[in-house]
Amino acid sequence: MIARRLTLLAAGLALVAGTFAWAGPRAAFLVAIGVGFGLVLEGLRMGFAGPWRTVVTDRDARGLIAQLLAIGATAAVALPLLAAAPGELIGAHAPVGVGMILGAFVFGAAMQVVMGCGSGTLVNAGSGNLVGLVALAGFIGGSFAGTLHLGFWSGLGSLPVITLQGVAGSGGGLALTLAALALVGYAAIRRADPGKRLPPLRLWVAAGLLAVLAILNLMVAGQPWGIVYGLGLWGAKIADAAGADLAATAYWAAPANAERLAASVLTDVTSLTNIGLLVGAFLAMRWRAAPDAPPAALTLPSWAAVLLAGLVLGYAARMAFGCNVGAFFSGISTGSLHGWVWFAAAFAGSMLGLRLRPWLLVARPATPIVERPA
């Protein structure tokens, strides 16, 4: 086992060193930060979709409280940083709109079907969950397809971009963000059963590490942690290789996106952290003395449902200007109102997804062993 762990350590370092040689120091830092995200999320078993489920089904608020702690700790540093360096750092700010709310609701539902959000799908795939891998393939296709129709969904009507710091000033925005997080946490704790209210030490550590990594991501990339943009770019790269004329689409003709499409994927900050995240989850899974048991195989229609749910997950995340990371975690921690609206809509969708999951995912029964007569 020691040899395997040394090999894993060497593989992680080789990935970072190789990225440094190929794409420079910023890319290497971002891959390393992504590996850190994967190690924390898989190694300390922190997630987003699972805690949203257990807070409803088991009256267990511990995972959700850990998320709120991580977001609050990130906001406490990110908002002053954004105020201090407005020309170098940007927040995850997007407008609240009809398409955005609908997308967040649908994302929440699909997230519970595949038991993985944006980061969760990458973590699940990297840690060897076949449902996660199939959903990831769908997510890539869906987030690319979403870019083709984003103009339509945005055109359904939206408010201007609103940030809490824009409304109440830098200090006021942070105070409002922390107060709102505390309010949500208080409501979750009040609803939870005794013994399921405050996170165990493992989740406190995970929340603190996630916050440190998210702040590093902001300082190095110049923008907050995200997932969906990178996956949509991967889909666009595949479509471009297959001959699609993406220059004719509004989204990929926009200068920032056209530049990313033309350049190496290793120049895209979100792709770099996505790659690192998946690799980090793989390393954490292989680090264990014995990997967890694989999930049950599904029936063929259920695999098709997982692929479709992954597609919907990606498409809806694009409509909603982000997933649980880009909109919920990074939106709220950088003061965007759309992060809060995303949270409310996705949580409502999540409750619908909990009801859909047993209908859509059916485990394949084991084939009985028939012994031949002697």
């Binding site: 190929w22 076949l130 995200g226 997932i227 920032a256 999930p295």
Partner: protein, 60 residues
């Protein structure tokens, strides 16, 4: 209680996920221009004096 079949083992699926990402990076490497080491951005955006690219999930 009905017995169910397990999916392929976690290491196998994990390697398949790595292979998927490696294939995407390899496909991109074949089609995109090589990165010029003399024009890569500074190690961190903070303190660089450069505006971020703006390619983020929250951008329209």
């Amino acid at each position: 209680m009905t017995a169910t079949q397990p999916a392929p083992s976690r290491p196998i699926v994990g390697f398949a996920a790595l292979a998927l990402v490696a294939a995407i990076v390899a496909l991109d490497a074949l089609r995109s221009p090589a990165i010029d080491p003399f024009t890569v951005p500074p190690p961190a955006a903070l303190g660089s004096g450069q505006a971020p690219g703006g390619a983020h999930c929250s951008a329209g």
